[in-house]
């Protein structure tokens, strides 16, 4: 199986190399089809191989050694349940993205800048979970960053994208540097970079703390955890939509894979404090992310911000798993871990779906600004229906998949009374409250987005004359929507493969699955004990369907089902122009008043024309990212300051340079003189 995956990865690399050649040699279209269909195939192979490994489960892990890198450090590759799970996530989404790209790629400005790097990016993301030594891990990690950076720069002519790419790559490399140092600590003085050796003797005391801090910094910054998130809403939207989907839906998860691998696997028992750190970061990220999403006007930026929220939710799950694990509460740890890993999958599905929708909107209307859309449910009915599913899923509404993982996270939160540490006993419920708030705000956020984009009347001629997107894109979106519903209705299809992963991760399986997947386990999701807290997507879904059908039937029997069309009533004052309808910013206004002024220093400025002026009044809303103000801006300023101060060194006179030489000489001489 590992071989199959490696072959697929190699194929992806080859595609990346071939693409420009084919473009130059044959034609762009051939290259296009070759790349996207090829990557779809490769993802299919790799994904099914990983799934087969996980479900078939005859071997705990498979190893392979490639004669690459340094002679005494050949690349170690290994697949175990954890990496298999993440490989499944990567490749399911990769497959969808390739199919989508088959259609969407036609609308990219400069395909030549996308085709070579798209498969390379996929390959990089496939390699990270496979890496079994620090060098290979970092190599593929950085490679993943580089290829996605080039994809971010794909439409490099648009203003602002250069800045996006710059910030993105620098932050990515910062994360990589943190990981490099962390692995240096883990490797210890004898410097063995194999994960196996690190696992064998994990550090303790200060080194362990430093290593974990660096790991959290490195992976957290890549995953977009607050306060290192600021690059994410800038970079993810800049890429073409199918790439944004991969970056937001998958790459952030791969980053979390690194976190899990080190904290749960390599470090042994890092103690509950780090779980608490994850909880805190997760809570802040969740709330912050969704609030900023709620205030965005750019669809893709909004989605990127909501990614920050979901990363927060996953981190909360991981933090809970960590604290429960070290407190010896196996069942709860398993529950929390399942919730987190399930949300990894769910969020990948729904965020990708939503980014695909954003791409469809962009191709249909040529804009990403909500304020220029509207009424698209009429023009893009199918996309609208699929988008509705995605929005419901990402707002954690039953019977979709988002609800399942959040429900399980809540169940895990409810286990907090069994914890011994008082800080956690108080902290976890607060986290739960934040989580609840985030979930509710998510619903508001996506009602706003969907309502403004798809409902109402067209706000721009482009929106009025939009056309439904092509079959490939619709197929990709439909597939993902179907998966969202399927996982929501029958969570077992995802939880069952997860059981092995969780068991390996926290050392104890999910109690519900202790005695295999029984029928009741399939129907009733009762993670802890049968009869207690339980949820059944299937039953809810079926009953809802039955009830709805009977209601429809009943109402149409009882009532007269005549329908008259007329102008909207609107309390008797139908507004003439579409510009008068509710806008995205006006929709967000109440919540902006409640939260925005506090967190984002939101400033609303109404520019009201004098009587007699004909220009329209404008409402201008300015938001500032506190993390940017507090962290990034000062750093940039500091660099500017230092460089400014150092710059004169370029303009000294020769005599001064000679004196520098002289000083150096004297210093070294006196050092030698004093060294004995």
């Amino acid at each position: 199986m590992l071989t199959a995956i490696l072959v697929a990865v190699a194929a992806l690399f080859c595609l990346g190399v071939l693409a420009p050649a084919v473009r130059a040699g044959a034609s762009g279209d051939i290259a296009h089809d070759l790349v996207y269909l090829g990557s779809a195939l490769a993802c299919l192979v790799a994904g099914s191989a990983a799934a087969w490994f996980l479900v078939g489960g005859q071997a705990a892990s498979l190893n392979a050694t490639l004669p690459m890198g340094l002679p005494w450090l050949p690349a170690q590759l290994r697949i175990d349940s954890l990496s298999a799970w993440f490989l499944i996530v990567v490749n399911v989404i990769g497959f969808a993205a390739s199919v989508y790209g088959k259609g969407y790629g036609r609308h990219v400005d400069e395909p030549g800048r996308v085709l070579p790097f798209f498969p390379a990016f996929l390959a990089g993301m496939n390699l990270v979970p496979l890496a079994d030594d620090a060098f290979t891990f970092l190599l593929s990690w950085e490679f993943m960053s580089v290829s996605s950076w080039l994809l971010v720069l794909a439409n490099h002519r648009q203003p602002g994208n250069a800045r996006a790419g710059m910030i993105y790559l620098v932050m990515a490399v910062f994360g990589g540097a943190c990981l490099l140092l962390a692995f240096g600590v883990l490797a210890g003085a004898e410097g063995t970079y194999y994960f196996a050796d690190m696992r064998a003797h994990p550090p303790t005391g200060w080194p362990a703390a430093i290593a974990l801090l660096l790991i959290v910094l490195g992976t957290g910054s890549k995953a977009g955890g607050v306060p290192l998130h600021a690059w994410l809403p800038i970079a993810h939207p800049a890429a073409p939509s199918h790439v944004s989907a991969l970056m937001s839906g998958v790459m952030t998860k791969v980053a979390l894979y690194g976190l899990i691998r080190v904290m749960f696997d390599l470090m042994g028992d890092p103690g509950w404090g780090w779980g608490a750190v994850l909880l805190a970061v997760g809570a802040v990220s969740a709330l912050y992310g969704i609030l900023s999403a709620l205030l965005q006007d750019d669809v893709k930026t909004m989605l990127a911000c909501s990614t920050i929220e979901n990363i927060g939710i996953i981190m909360i799950g991981l933090g809970l798993a960590q604290v429960f694990r070290v407190s010896g509460l196996g069942a709860l740890a398993a529950l929390a871990a399942t919730a987190a890993l399930l949300h990894v999958f769910n969020h990948a599905l729904m965020k990708t779906l939503m980014f695909f929708v954003a791409g469809a909107l962009q191709t249909a209307t040529g804009t990403r600004a909500l304020e220029r859309m509207g009424g698209l449910i009429q023009r893009l009915p199918i996309t609208a229906a699929l988008a509705l599913a995605g929005a419901a899923a990402i707002s954690a509404l039953p019977p979709f998949n988002g609800f399942v993982s959040e429900w399980m996270t809540f169940q895990a939160v409810l286990g907090s009374p069994q914890l011994a540490q008082w800080p956690l006993r108080f902290g976890v419920p607060v986290t739960g409250a934040v989580l609840a708030l985030a979930a509710a705000l998510a619903a508001a956020c996506f009602v706003r987005a969907y309502g403004i984009a798809f409902l109402g009347r067209p706000r721009s001629p482009e929106a009025a004359s939009a056309h439904e997107v092509d079959g490939w894109m619709r197929a990709a979106m439909a597939g993902l929507a179907a998966l969202c519903l399927a996982v929501g209705v029958l969570p077992m299809i995802a939880i069952l493969p997860l059981s092995q992963v969780v068991a390996d991760l926290v050392g104890s399986p999910l109690p519900a699955l202790a005695d295999g997947p029984t029928l009741s386990a399939w129907v009733w999701l009762a993670p802890l004990e049968q009869g207690y807290s339980s949820y059944s997507g299937l039953v809810v879904f079926l009953t809802a369907v039955i009830v709805t059908v009977s209601v429809v039937a009943g109402v149409h029997r009882l009532a007269n089902d005549r329908v008259r069309r007329g102008p909207p009533w609107d309390c008797g004052f139908p507004d003439p122009t579409a510009a008068a309808q509710y806008t995205a910013s006006s929709f967000a206004q109440p919540l902006r008043r409640v939260f925005g002024t506090l967190i984002f220093r939101a400033v609303e400025r109404v520019d009201m024309p004098e009587p007699g002026e004909t220009r329209p009044a404008r409402l201008e809303v300015r938001l500032t990212d506190p993390a940017w103000v507090a962290l990034y801006a000062p750093l940039i300023a500091a660099v500017g300051w230092i460089t400014e101060r150092a710059n004169p060194l370029q303009y000294l006179t020769i005599r001064r340079y000679l004196s520098l030489v002289f000083m150096a000489l004297i210093l070294l001489l006196s050092a030698v003189a004093l060294s004995r």
Partner: protein, 225 residues
Amino acid sequence: MLYGLDFDIAHTLGTSVLLLSFALLYQRRLTGVLEAFALQAVFVAAAAAWQAWSQDAPHLYITAGIALGFKAIAIPLALGHIVRKLGIHRTVETVVGVNLTLLAGVALVALSILLVFPVTFASGNVARENLTLALSVVLLGLLMMITRRNAVTQVIGFMSLENGLVLAAVGVKGMPLVVEGSVAFSVLVAFIIFGMFFFRIRERFDTLDLQYLETFRGDRQVDRP
């Protein structure tokens, strides 16, 4: 064999070279600097010749010859010519006060003694003394290069630094390539002086010509990130 005398003479010559380095630092007039340097060159030549005799290494006579002919006579003349031709005003402009420079010089000598002192030699004290003196002369030469603004004085500083090298080289038994080395250096110095002629250096090395100092600093205005 006359070990003591050998030692004394070598020592005396070396010491006088060092003293003349101080004299170079002390001089306030350009002509005076030139004379002091010529005298130093003479002593270096003498030291070389003495070593040639005492180690009976005839090739050192060549070194002595170069030192005498080139550095003690030709260069001072050439420089004097430049000084007159370019009409460089006669006084030496110093960066830090002369007394301060001298103090620094003393400190440098102390440092070199400190450095060489623990060295133990199979080959008698000759080399040790020589080494101390040579090291001091080298450091003093460098000091002169950086504490004098005038191009001529800087060249002279460089050459007295090189005198230190010669002193060290001849002091060591059977050092090969000394001649080649001194020749190479004469070439180097010739280059420098030629350059000063060629580029019309009035003041310092780093102002080839006053008018365009700014153009090269064009790198200064910056587009920020």
